[in-house]
């Protein structure tokens, strides 16, 4: 009986010690730094849902003991269980996936997708299209696929190589097209681009699949690779020119190869340096766009007939290193003139249009707005899909 009780008592003691030590030690540390203990917010603030949620989040993230212990626990979980934490998923061959994007792919979603009471995507996009039309401006919408929609086989061995685009995404694209919204379907573009090519994990398997080819997404990152980005820029440029919405300009641009090395954002968001050190920084061969006449890297033109709106898919390679090597610069290269752009990280569903509403001068002289947003924003867009009237 005593032997049986031993582990139980031990566990109870450990649990009680944790309860007895963590909270008081946190209070002591906060007081020593001259701060009011965070737990007092429980009585200092009205106990609304938002306040309680914020308090819970603060207690979790600011606990010093947890901060000290967490990296080592996460490292152990990663090494032993391949658990990459609550934001990342480990795929094959060192590929990492952003968990909310995978959740978007596999979890059922109602139609039309709504984010709380913050509107639905159809109303928001059609309303924006109509607002622009009143000003004589055309709208071209381009959802950027989640990495897991293009390379599912790198996430799960049993997934088909053909991209299993979420039914919600298919329905959204179809409904938008029915409503007369011009849409660039990158799912189809990437799907066609991958026909006959080897899956990325076989690139190191000798020449079974013939010549190695670049992939459209980065292994450690949630974003597209330079190749995927350039393909998107080519498709959009062709659509704009073929439709006659804009004419090719006379500014000459060249591209300059630049190789960068960096850990991807999904790997970094695990926030465990010990895990990052397990992986070499990814080598990325970029092409920086330079003005042929001046020799200087591409810069935006506020007087351009084209305004590009979007999120971090526009930021990568453009405002991050190497600079002037992202979607905006390559679209400008293909069109032969500079563009105006508004890049709003993680905010392409609503925040970028709020930004535009605060600065309507950005629309002066525009003929076309190209609006990029990441696929998962269909369901998880920050601040939902609000209708934002333009002033």
């Amino acid at each position: 009986m005593t032997a049986r009780c031993g582990p139980r008592v031990c566990l109870i003691v450990v649990f009680l010690v944790l309860i007895g030590v963590v909270a008081p030690s946190q209070i002591v540390l906060e007081l020593r730094e001259g701060e009011t203990p965070g737990i007092t917010d429980l009585v200092r603030q009205t106990p609304t849902r938002a306040n309680l949620k914020r308090l819970e989040s603060d207690l979790e993230t600011k606990c010093r003991l947890a901060q000290a212990v967490r990296p080592w626990v996460q490292y152990a979980r990663f090494v032993l269980l391949q658990d990459a934490g609550d934001k990342a998923l480990l795929g094959h061959c060192g590929w990492f996936f952003y968990r909310p994007a995978v959740q978007y792919l596999v979890a059922p979603c109602p139609l039309p997708p709504t984010v709380g009471t913050q509107g639905d995507i159809f109303t928001a996009i059609v309303s924006f299209r109509d607002e622009l039309a009143k000003r004589g401006i055309k709208l071209l919408v381009m959802p950027a696929p989640n990495k897991s929609s293009v390379y599912p086989e790198m996430l799960a061995a049993r997934a088909e190589t053909a991209a299993p685009v979420n039914p919600t995404t298919r329905a959204v694209l179809a409904t938008l097209k029915q409503a007369g919204v011009e849409v660039v379907d990158l799912f189809e573009v990437y799907g066609q681009g991958r026909v006959g090519l080897a899956p990325p994990q076989s690139l190191s398997d000798g020449n079974r699949w013939g010549k190695p080819h670049p992939t459209y997404y980065l292994a450690q990152d949630s974003h597209w690779s330079p190749e995927g980005m350039r393909l998107a820029a080519n498709v959009v440029a062709r659509r704009l020119l073929d439709s006659g919405w804009v004419q090719k300009g006379s500014v000459r641009y060249d591209t300059k190869p630049v190789t960068i090395h960096r850990h991807g954002d999904v790997l970094r968001m695990i926030r465990v340096p010990q895990v990052e050190r397990l992986y070499e920084p990814e080598q990325i061969d970029c092409a920086q766009v330079v003005n042929t006449d001046t020799g200087k890297p591409y810069v935006d033109d506020p007087d351009s007939p084209v305004l590009v709106l979007g999120d971090s898919f526009l930021r990568i390679f453009e405002r991050d290193e190497p600079g002037s090597g992202g979607f905006i610069a390559h679209l400008a290269h293909n069109l032969g003139f500079g563009l105006t752009s508004v890049v709003n990280d993680g905010g392409a569903s609503t925040l970028v249009r709020q930004q535009l509403a605060r600065k309507p001068a950005l629309l002066a002289g525009k003929k076309v707005v190209v609006w990029e947003f990441v696929e998962r924003d269909i369901r998880f867009g920050t601040e939902g899909w609000q209708v934002i009237p333009l002033p």
Binding site: G34, Q45, K87, M269
Partner: protein, 156 residues
């Protein structure tokens, strides 16, 4: 159980010692940064943090909060209530500067309704910060949004 009791008592003693060790002194929040950065400097009380403060490792957001202005040290502020965008408010101000927003900071560890802050500001936010702005007042309030460059805590 004795262990827990002993540890709890020890911590209680440490707690009281700690409380006694630091007598509360008035701190106006003034320092070399807050008094020189930006074109506006105010002391204001945080009245409201609308919605949930996002702590997303993938993205950086500014979150707009409502303040009651107590004193204007520099520049011109027309109203008693102002709306201020704080960059990534889930993080302490002394660890907030990054490659995209390199010159911001302060000594506020945590944003709490009721606290008084001394802030160096610019306005409007869109002229100084290009990125996601969570503004729950959008469409309800047409006042300009201030951009918090430096945020220090004021204690009484």
């Amino acid at each position: 159980m004795k262990v827990v009791l002993v540890m709890t008592l020890s911590l209680a003693l440490l707690l009281s010692a700690s409380c006694a060790k630091k007598p509360q002194t008035a701190d106006t929040g003034a320092d070399a940064k807050v008094t020189t950065l930006g074109s506006i400097e105010v002391t204001a009380q945080l009245e409201e943090i609308p919605g949930e403060v996002r702590n997303d490792p993938l993205y950086d957001y500014a979150h707009v909060m409502k303040y009651k202005v107590l004193q204007v040290q520099r520049g011109k502020v027309d109203k008693d209530t102002i709306y201020v965008g704080h960059y990534n408010p889930a993080k302490p101000r002394d660890a907030i500067a990054d490659a995209r927003v390199p010159q911001i900071g302060g000594n506020v560890k945590q944003f709490r309704v009721g606290d008084v802050h001394r802030m160096a500001l610019e306005v409007p936010i869109d002229d100084y910060y290009m990125g996601g702005i969570i503004n729950k007042y959008f469409g309800q309030v047409n006042d300009p949004i201030y951009w918090a460059i430096w945020t220090n805590k004021v204690s009484k």
